[in-house]
Symmetry: C2
Subunit: 456 residues, 2 copies
């Protein structure tokens, strides 16, 4: 591995410059106005894959944004690793809260600030650079396949079809993904689970026009008020979700599992301090780590209605809307939950308003096995490069594709993420530590080495 | 009065053109970006007052937008009428719901569509044209003073000081205002009351940044969810406002008053049909006319927080905000209600969020005497020009200045409005019927005649 270390050391400046070039593309998949940029990003990723030494590099069209594929098959008797990542990013707004422009990567005390720095450009690009390193040093011990998509942040709507259509091409022994976090660089960890997601949009419509709140106020249902009442009713006083059937099938952790989970280094005071909140919030009877890692949730991601400009407008709005998403855990099916939400939300609407509910997208929850060759290889790789055994953790996020891989390709996934919870994913000033970026590039070849060895 | 009729008939086209010119100024007082236009509007109004024959026309500076003053004092032994109106308008948004541009007046089946067509440009300009008519026909029977302000839609913050500083100049026997509605042209009415107003803005702040709803969801209070819960708690299951002390001092109508109020022509099915709602909403135990005319209310005028763009963003927002206003009735003091709201709203905030409450502005409720000379004159004027006695009604809107006049100048007000509830005040496609505009110009001189006669 000495050669690999040296090669990385030698090329660090270029590895960073290339990531910056990638981060300069505003590849926001949620907003159509960025379409041209998203497509350019795919082309850029493909060119870098080819430069790194991949064969059959292809920008594969889909009904939405293309999927970038590339592979290097060295020996059919060796195990094959399928690397998944996504080149699309979350919308950057609220823009005014960024200290530096979201699409002009800026380094401050060792951290790269840019939308996508960690999620997921910085993390999937580590794999391309690790691949380049293994190729250039003739130390690639496995076959490798890359599948980098452009719709992860909007629900991977077209990836399912692509996977179904390309089962042969995508065959592999493990899916390797770096799109999650570690507790810290001092406390490396390895995620063993992801939450599923059901994302809904609701519209509450009252009168057919905005009304004068003096002339009509108090006599006509105010959709903003009604929407608030409906949303408020979705949690009870213990912050349990009230949608009938919501918890059906949810698997409670055993006391042993709870103990292991809560054994992870976690400082509640630090957590509150970092977020500047006086108190945490959540489902009664569960710890913070249990709430994010093992419990389903319901969150308002956005709400709007009426006059939101400066000053005062005495209007009774015609409608009010909200984006509401639910994180799901093993035992919950995202389509069933979407239906339960829709039926419930429509059923609680008073006669004085009309309600429209649309499902945006979703994904299934997933739990990775901890006894697989691949998990052990990741464990050893991290232990070796960090000099400390990783703590198994349950992540609160969702990568819908993971469950799909298992279902369609029957391949297990390893979640070897190098981000931090404090990286401001989906927030202004998203960042990724340069240290973590290089650490990832160093660790990935170790995974390949151990995976090849343990697979023998 | 024949000459007056003829003069109006003769100049109708010009009267309309001048109103159009006035409506083309986007005099939105709430939004600083229109500042230049608001100031131009004041100049325009002043020039028209002078042209109509007013003396001492002045654009009086204030800490905010100027107040246009003008007068014609013909004989100190005659009664004096102080005409109040406002040249500022509500913001036009949501712009996409306008069928024609808000500041390009357009006539469709006899109606003028434009922001301010009815509220209040169309209505106060009737007085300037009626004044011109009385002057040109040598039939002005009273002294007249005009005070047209530019901040009514944002709470008349600087009018109070102006009135205090100009008590002598503003002395009059009655304040005449056309800024309210009639039931219909077939059922003329005369408003005898106005609701007060307390307008608040609230901000609920959770974590110090937008968070990934997967990584933190379920473990950190979501300000949008909390705001909804707090707003929902402001009404009980009978739609009574739950703020402690909110109803203190509210005067219940006597059965006789209720009967008179509910005797006004009102068709609930028509009302629902016009608004396209399946059911009305409101405080249990009161009719629709009682709810808007005699009961205090609490309305959400606007709400916003989190991601409101296209598609899905899985964010747990850092904060959520709302504009909330309350309409007040006799017995309620707007400053006291603002304080009650602030204290209550802050008191119900959970420890997991921080709450900021600011009072925008307010005004006192008002009930006009129905036995005054001025009220009788207005009654007779309407009866004469409409050929039908007006029905006394209680309006739901607010004109904060009315209570101020009484307090500072000790002058009663007559609310002789010619608008319709269906004029879309504060809404897209605000309109004013050309018929009503001319009808008003014909009726106003009758008021002056009767007021002069009855005052003898």
């Amino acid at each position: 591995m000495q050669e690999i270390k040296e090669y990385i050391e030698q090329h660090k400046p270029r590895f960073l410059e290339e990531l910056f070039a990638l981060l300069r593309f505003p590849s926001v998949s949620a907003d159509p106005k960025y379409k041209g940029d998203v497509l350019k990003t795919a082309e850029f990723v493909a060119s870098k894959l080819a430069e790194a030494g991949a064969d059959l590099v292809e920008v594969c069209p889909t009904a939405g944004y293309p999927i970038v594929y590339g592979e290097k098959l060295i020996d059919s008797s060796l195990p094959t690793v399928l690397v998944y990542g996504h080149y699309d990013v979350q919308p950057p707004d609220p823009l005014e809260l960024w200290d530096t422009p979201p699409f002009e990567p800026t380094v401050r005390d060792g951290k790269i600030f840019a939308r996508g720095a960690c999620d997921d450009k910085g993390q999937f690009y580590m794999h391309i650079k690790a691949f380049e390193t293994m190729m250039s040093t003739q130390q690639l011990p496995c076959n490798i396949k890359f599948m980098i998509e452009g719709e992860e942040e909007v629900g991977s709507d077209n990836l399912g079809q692509f996977v179904k259509d390309n089962k042969a091409r995508l065959q592999a022994d493990v899916v390797l993904i770096s799109d999650t976090s570690m507790i810290s660089m001092e406390n490396p960890s390895l995620e063993t689970g992801l939450r599923g997601l059901a994302y809904m949009e609701v519209e509450v419509v009252g009168p057919n026009r905005d009304l004068h709140s003096g002339v009509y106020g108090g006599a006509v249902a105010n959709p903003a008020t009604i929407l608030c009442q409906m949303i408020a009713s979705l949690h009870d006083e213990n912050n349990h979700v009230t949608i009938p059937g919501f918890y059906d099938g949810v698997i409670e952790l055993s006391d042993a599992e709870k103990q292991a989970l809560n054994a992870a280094p976690f400082d509640l005071d630090e957590y509150k301090k970092d977020l500047a909140v006086d108190d945490v919030w959540g489902e009664k009877g569960y710890s913070t780590l249990e709430r994010t890692g093992t419990r389903p949730t319901l969150e308002v991601n956005g709400i709007w209605g009426g006059y939101t400009g400066p000053g005062a407008k005495t209007v009774l709005p015609s409608k009010a809307e909200a984006k509401i998403s639910m994180r799901l855990v093993p035992g919950q099916d995202w389509q069933r939950i979407s239906d339960l939400f829709k039926n419930h939300f429509e059923s609680i609407a008073p006669k004085s308003v009309k309600v429209k509910v649309t499902a945006h997208h979703g994904g299934m929850p997933y739990v990775t096995p901890v006894d697989s060759v691949a998990f052990k290889a990741a464990f050893k790789a991290i232990e070796e490069s960090f000099g400390k055994a990783p703590v198994p953790t349950r992540g609160g996020g969702s990568i819908p594709i993971v469950a799909l891989f298992e279902q369609e390709l029957n391949i297990k996934t390893v979640l070897m993420g190098f981000g931090l919870d404090s990286d401001n994913l989906h927030s202004p000033n998203e960042k990724y530590d340069i240290y973590n970026y290089y650490k990832g590039i160093e660790t990935i070849p170790l995974f390949f080495k151990h995976f090849a060895d343990l697979s023998k």
